[in-house]
Symmetry: C2
Subunit: 380 residues, 2 copies
């Protein structure tokens, strides 16, 4: 029986994690859950899974929850509350399902405890990949990716020799704007950008999918997870999202992992690895899907993808700037404050204006994240 702490249990990955755990009550026990502010859903989850520890980032919502619950359960609050949950509770696996930069510090606490991290929060590796992978090695922790693409690559590499990898091929759905002209980006609405053809996900990641920044962040994440340089990480557009990614070896052989667009599978794999647990998830029926297609990505149209490759090649704090600028730009777009086409321009500006650091410390990264957020908030 593995004890599981879920950071971000009310988001899309968190809810799916609980869906997986519900199917395997003999294998996994929820010992802690956290949310930013969605205490209605959190309360339902508390009632169903009976965790020992709960944390709510929003302090006033944490107080409101305490009143409603009227139980002996420990309720932490604030950003520190989330970090404390990772630092002080008793668990075997941490599911890092928070969105954005805020996942970094609690994940680091879990790594320092030598735990398994089922990592959905790609920003942790994007902004501080060098530090995080260093700590993983130092504390014998283990990161199993939950992103469907990285889970696919992880599965394809089982039993293989990483030194024999020629390249990895990340597949991309291409998002809702795959077949639109670049000129369309000028007036693309929030509603249009949120209308993803294959995946139901949170708002932030769905916009990232429309700009293809999501794939860019995944390229950087893959670099840290698998220790490969940018030129060995390729993106191929595969609109059906059935092949979740591929690995090409030095003999020319390609291995791929396939499945329906359903996060339950990679979540379960990250929890149960190296075992594969039986389940009743819907199976992939290839004759009913009928057709897979593949295209080169349009780097000219999807500037965010180009910017991510540039940031990876620049290294140091560049991916941190890229990520922070993107987070604020997407927030602004979702609030109707900027155009869709401005997202990439803002990120480009941030990368140009904010000072490049070659080997930032964790404190430098935290500082760089703040500076970038302030810059974007105030300049656009």
């Amino acid at each position: 029986m593995k004890k599981v702490l879920i950071l971000g249990s009310t988001g899309s990955i968190g809810v799916n994690s609980l869906n997986v755990i519900r199917e395997h009550p003999d294998k996994f026990q929820v010992v802690g859950i956290t949310t930013n502010s969605n205490i209605e859903l959190l309360e339902q989850q508390i009632n169903e899974f009976n965790p020992k520890i709960v944390a709510v980032k929003d302090v006033s919502q944490a107080k409101a929850l305490k009143k409603r619950l009227n139980s002996s359960i420990e309720i932490l609050s604030g950003e520190d509350g989330i970090i404390n949950a990772a630092l002080n509770s008793d668990y075997d696996i941490l599911i890092g399902a928070m969105v954005g930069f805020s996942g970094l510090l609690p994940t680091i606490e879990a790594i320092k405890k030598g735990k398994r991290i089922a990592l959905a929060n790609k920003e942790t590796l994007v902004v501080a990949g060098e530090i995080v992978t260093g700590l993983v090695a130092e504390f014998s922790a283990e990161i199993i990716p939950v992103d469907s693409e990285h889970s696919a690559i992880y599965q394809c590499l089982v039993g293989e020799n990483l030194e024999e990898v020629e390249k990895i091929i990340l597949t991309a759905s291409g998002g809702p704007f795959l077949n639109k002209d670049k000129s369309f980006f000028e007036n693309a609405t929030v509603e249009e950008a949120l209308n993803h053809p294959n995946w139901k996900m949170g708002n932030k990641i769905t916009i990232d999918s429309a700009t293809m920044m999501n794939k860019g962040l995944e390229v950087i994440e893959a670099h840290w997870l698998f220790g490969l340089p940018a030129e060995k990480i390729e993106v191929v557009v595969h609109p059906q999202s059935i092949i979740h990614s591929m690995v090409q070896f030095q003999d020319g052989s390609i291995k791929a992992q396939l499945g329906l667009p359903d996060m339950k599978l990679p979540i379960q794999y990250a929890l149960s690895f190296p075992e594969r647990l039986n389940n009743n998830f819907t199976r992939t029926n290839l004759p009913s899907i009928k057709t897979f297609t593949f295209f080169e990505p349009d780097f000219d149209k999807f500037e965010c993808l180009s910017l991510a490759y540039q940031a990876l090649r620049s290294g140091g704090n560049a991916p941190c700037i890229l990520n922070a600028a993107n987070e604020i730009a997407v927030e602004k777009f979702l609030l109707g404050k900027i155009k869709f086409s401005e997202i990439s321009k803002i990120i480009y500006e941030a990368l140009s204006k904010i000072e490049h650091q070659k080997s930032p410390s964790l404190d430098d990264i935290i500082e760089c994240d703040k500076i970038t957020r302030d810059f974007v908030t105030n300049s656009f």
Copy 2:
């Protein structure tokens, strides 16, 4: 440096095996080659690779070769000559690239010597799977499949637990008659049947591909290689022949192996496993291939595929009857003696008329093969 004996070096797989070995002169050395009767090509191969032992099944051709060569090289002849090459020469890996039933006995000799068998001769497992797999276990030999489909499955299973396999999915090109009506089979010509859309192979296997008996034999081969019952072995038509086969695990995840239709890759893998050797084989470019399609196979139209499943389910000597009847029927078709549509009818007749044995010995199998060949030769 691994010493390699190639049975059937002048056929399609044999020639490709030498193409692979030519690229890795530091890894593999050809110690022996054999042919049925193609001594022109064999002589060229002898001159290039300088093997220690040579065998020619056709006795008069063997004599002709001896005169031409005028060297100290040992030339064996007849069926016994081929078996002796496997029994008495010094090698690490035997490539079983002979066509049809004749591959069985020499392969068994290599197994009894505890060698690695790079097995392209699927009939060995089809006709005597139970005996062969028993001997492999007894003598700690090793079979690495060379068929692209089984190589794909073997690669997908590396690092995985066979007990967690839900099913394997063999892909089939569908052959040249995929889009023809069943009525077309009445008057299909040899030329049309030999016109395979993706693979350049020998005549026998190309006709097997047109009837889909090739896929049927592969289903039976997969049963013995991976220890799975018929209901866990599925066939999906994938006309592009890029996905070479797939494995679905009990968590619903599917792993696939992809590559161009080029036998050099699975041959090299079988030689170098568990290593993957660098090479300059043409790489797969998915955006230039653009589209994959998938269909259910038409069991009503491709009766040979249905017959193969039936033979696997019947067990015992049924696959041996299926295979022998098919070999003679295909020979007759290639000689213009029967119609394409009669191939499946002849096999059906043989399976109905020839006595079923539950647990045939090796001698029973050899006898059953002869009886079936005589039956088909004399009855149609």
